[in-house]
C-alpha cells in the first residue's frame, strides 16, 4: 500500500504561537483515517493547510506523489483532493443540484462547458451526473430545492456529495457527524462506506468516537499542535498519552 498523502514536519504558527508543530504522518491509499484530538488541537488547521487556506511555515505536503505545499488553493482540487467544512458552507441561494454542480467546476474547462446553459436544458451530462450522484446518496427528492431551506442533516450529506463530484482521491471531512442525530449519523456512515468502497481515501476530523470507531481503521491524535499518537482505532483508547490529553493527568500525580 502506498501513501496518498504524506505530511512531513509541517509547521504553522500564528504570531508567535505554533499551532501546528512539526507534524508528520502518512495516509494510506484507500484507507479510512481519522484525525482526532481535544478542542484547539489543530485538526481544522491541518485541513486548512491541506486545502491551501493557510500557508505552511515549514515542512512539506505530498498528495499522490505531487508536492502541493506551494500550489495555490484554487488549483489543489486538480490534484485529487476535496473537502467538506465544519460549519456547512453550501451556497445558500443555489439549489441542491446547482451546489453539486459546483463540485464539477474544475472538470469543466472548455468554452462549451462554461457557456452551455446547464440551467435551462436539464438534459446535459453535468446535470445528469449531479442528479445521479444525489440519487446514489438518497438525496434525489431535494434536487431542485434551495439548500438554505433543507434540514441540517441533509445539508451535511449534500456537502459530501458536492466534494465527491470532483472525483477526489482523498476526501477531507471536517466533523461530518457534528450536530446530526443518530439516524442521520448512520445515513452518513452508510454514504461514506459506499464512497470508501469505490476507492476514495477518507480523512475525517471527528469528535464522535463511536462514529470514528465504526468508520475508521487508522487514527492520528493531535494535542496542542503536536502528534501524540498514531495507530489503529483499537489501540487509541489504551494509549496513556491520549487518555491524559482527553481526561487529564492521573489523580495520583496531582496528590
Amino acid at each position: 500500500m502506498s501513501a496518498v498523502l504524506t505530511l512531513s514536519s509541517v509547521t504553522k504558527s500564528f504570531g508567535g504561537l505554533a499551532v501546528i508543530d512539526d507534524v508528520s504522518f502518512d495516509i494510506e491509499q484507500g484507507s479510512r483515517s481519522a484525525l482526532i484530538g481535544p478542542n484547539g488541537a489543530g485538526k481544522t488547521t491541518i485541513f486548512n493547510l491541506l486545502s491551501g487556506i493557510y500557508e505552511v511555515n515549514g515542512g512539506q505536503m505530498i498528495l499522490d506523489g505531487v508536492d502541493i505545499t506551494d500550489i495555490p488553493s484554487r488549483d489543489r482540487i486538480n490534484f485529487g483532493m476535496s473537502r467538506s467544512f465544519q460549519n456547512i458552507r453550501l451556497m445558500p441561494h443555489l439549489s441542491t443540484v446547482e451546489n453539486v454542480m459546483l463540485g464539477q467546476h474544475h472538470l469543466a474547462t472548455s468554452f462549451k462547458d462554461i457557456f452551455y446553459p446547464i440551467g435551462f436544458r436539464p438534459k446535459n451530462k453535468w446535470a445528469e451526473q449531479a442528479r445521479a450522484a444525489l440519487s446514489d446518496a438518497g438525496l434525489d427528492t431535494y434536487s431542485s430545492q434551495v439548500v438554505s431551506e433543507l434540514p441540517y442533516g441533509v445539508q451535511k450529506r449534500i456537502e459530501v456529495v458536492r466534494a465527491l463530484m470532483s472525483d477526489p482521491k482523498l476526501l477531507l471531512l471536517d466533523e461530518p457527524a457534528a450536530g446530526l442525530n443518530a439516524a442521520e449519523t448512520s445515513e452518513l456512515q452508510t454514504l461514506l462506506e459506499k464512497v470508501s468502497a469505490s476507492g476514495t481515501t477518507l480523512l475525517v476530523v471527528e469528535h464522535d468516537m463511536n462514529f470514528v470507531r465504526n468508520l475508521c481503521q487508522h487514527v492520528v491524535v493531535l494535542n496542542f499542535g503536536r502528534k501524540i499518537f498514531e495507530g489503529t482505532t483499537d489501540e487509541v483508547g489504551k494509549d496513556p498519552q491520549v487518555l491524559e490529553a482527553y481526561l487529564g493527568g492521573d489523580a495520583s500525580d496531582v496528590a
Binding site: 458552507r89 446553459p117 440551467g119
Partner: protein, 302 residues
C-alpha cells in the same frame, strides 16, 4: 399608443438594459455605483461615431455595437484596479470612476463639453424593443450557464468557490466587462431616442437609482433587474395617476416622498429584494409527487 405611454416604455427599456448592466457584477457579489460612467462613455462614443458633421458618420447599426464594445474595453481595463476593492470601498471606487468619466467628457470640446452633443440618427421604440428583449434573454441565459453558476457561487461564498477551482478573478472581471458592455449599449440607445446627450443627465443620483433597481428587484435571480426596473419606472407614474384621480396632493405632488417611503419599507421587509430564489420556487412549485415511501400523512389537522 399615446406619446406618453411610448415615452414611458422607452424609459422602461433603457432602465431594463442599464439594470442588467449593474446586475451582472452584483450577481457575482460586486456592487457597482458607476452605471452613469458606462452610460456616458457609450452615449458619447456612439454619438461621435454616428455624427455626420463632427464625427465619423457611421450608421447606427455599426456605431451602437462599436460604442458598446468600446465601453466594454474601458470596463475591462478599470475592472482590475476596481475589483481589488471590496464592499463599501468598491462602491466608492466605481462612484469615483463615474465621476472621472463625467469630468473628462465635460472637458472634451470635440463632443461639445458642458453644452452637450446632438445625436444625428433617431431610432424608434420599435428598434429599442427587440434589443431590450435580447438583453433580458441574454441575462437569463448567462445566469443559467456554468459561468453564471460560478458568479452566484462567488456571491454566496467566495472562499469556498475558489476551493472548488473557480477562478474568482476571471469570473468577476468577465461579469464586470459584460456589465460595461450593456451599460455602453444603454447609453448609445439613449442618445438615439432623445437625440441630444449631456453629461448632466447621468449624475450620482442616476447611478444610485440603477443600483436600487437591482437591489430592490433582487440579485439572486435574473428576474431581479427586470422586476426592479418595472417597479422603478411604473410606481412613480402610478402614484402620479392616483394623485391626479383623487386630487390628493400628498400622492401627486409629493410622489417621490411616498416612493422613498415605499423603498425604505421594502428594504425593511424584503432586504434580499422582491424576487428571491425561495419566492420563485413558491411561484413555480410543481405539484408535489408523493412516492410510495412517503404516503400522505392523514393525521395532519386531526
Amino acid at each position: 399608443m399615446s406619446a406618453y405611454l411610448t415615452g414611458l416604455i422607452v424609459i422602461l427599456c433603457l432602465n431594463i438594459i442599464i439594470a442588467y448592466s449593474v446586475f451582472l457584477p452584483a450577481a457575482a457579489g460586486q456592487l457597482n455605483l458607476g452605471a452613469a460612467g458606462f452610460m456616458i462613455i457609450g452615449a458619447y462614443m456612439d454619438a461621435y461615431l454616428n455624427s455626420a458633421d463632427d464625427g465619423l458618420g457611421l450608421p447606427m447599426l455599426l456605431s451602437v455595437p462599436a460604442a458598446a464594445l468600446f465601453t466594454a474595453l474601458i470596463g475591462f481595463l478599470v475592472s482590475f484596479p476596481i475589483l481589488r476593492t471590496r464592499g463599501v470601498y468598491m462602491i466608492l471606487a466605481t462612484f469615483a470612476f463615474a465621476e472621472i468619466v463625467a469630468g473628462i467628457v465635460l472637458n472634451m470640446e470635440v463632443v461639445g463639453g458642458a453644452s452637450g452633443f446632438p445625436v444625428s440618427s433617431h431610432a424608434e421604440l420599435e428598434d429599442l424593443l427587440p434589443v431590450t428583449i435580447g438583453v433580458v434573454l441574454f441575462g437569463f441565459y448567462l445566469i443559467s450557464t456554468r459561468f453564471g453558476l460560478a458568479m452566484r457561487s462567488i456571491h454566496d461564498d467566495e472562499s469556498v468557490a475558489i476551493l472548488f477551482g473557480v477562478n474568482a478573478r476571471h469570473i468577476q472581471v468577465g461579469a464586470f466587462t459584460i456589465g460595461a458592455f450593456l451599460g455602453g449599449l444603454a447609453g448609445a440607445l439613449y442618445g438615439h431616442q432623445f437625440d441630444y446627450i449631456e453629461v448632466q443627465n447621468w449624475g450620482i443620483l442616476f447611478s444610485i437609482f440603477v443600483l436600487l433597481y437591482v437591489l430592490i428587484g433582487g440579485t439572486q435571480t435574473p428576474w431581479g433587474p427586470l422586476i426592479g426596473a418595472l417597479f422603478f419606472t411604473f410606481v412613480p407614474e402610478l402614484l402620479r395617476a392616483v394623485g391626479d384621480a383623487t386630487g390628493w396632493e400628498l400622492i401627486g405632488e409629493l410622489r417621490f416622498a411616498v416612493f422613498g417611503a415605499i423603498i425604505v419599507g421594502m428594504m425593511v421587509l424584503r432586504p434580499e429584494g422582491i424576487m428571491t430564489r425561495t419566492f420563485l420556487e413558491l411561484l413555480f412549485r410543481k405539484v408535489p409527487q408523493r412516492s410510495p415511501q412517503n404516503p400522505p400523512n392523514n393525521m395532519e389537522g386531526v
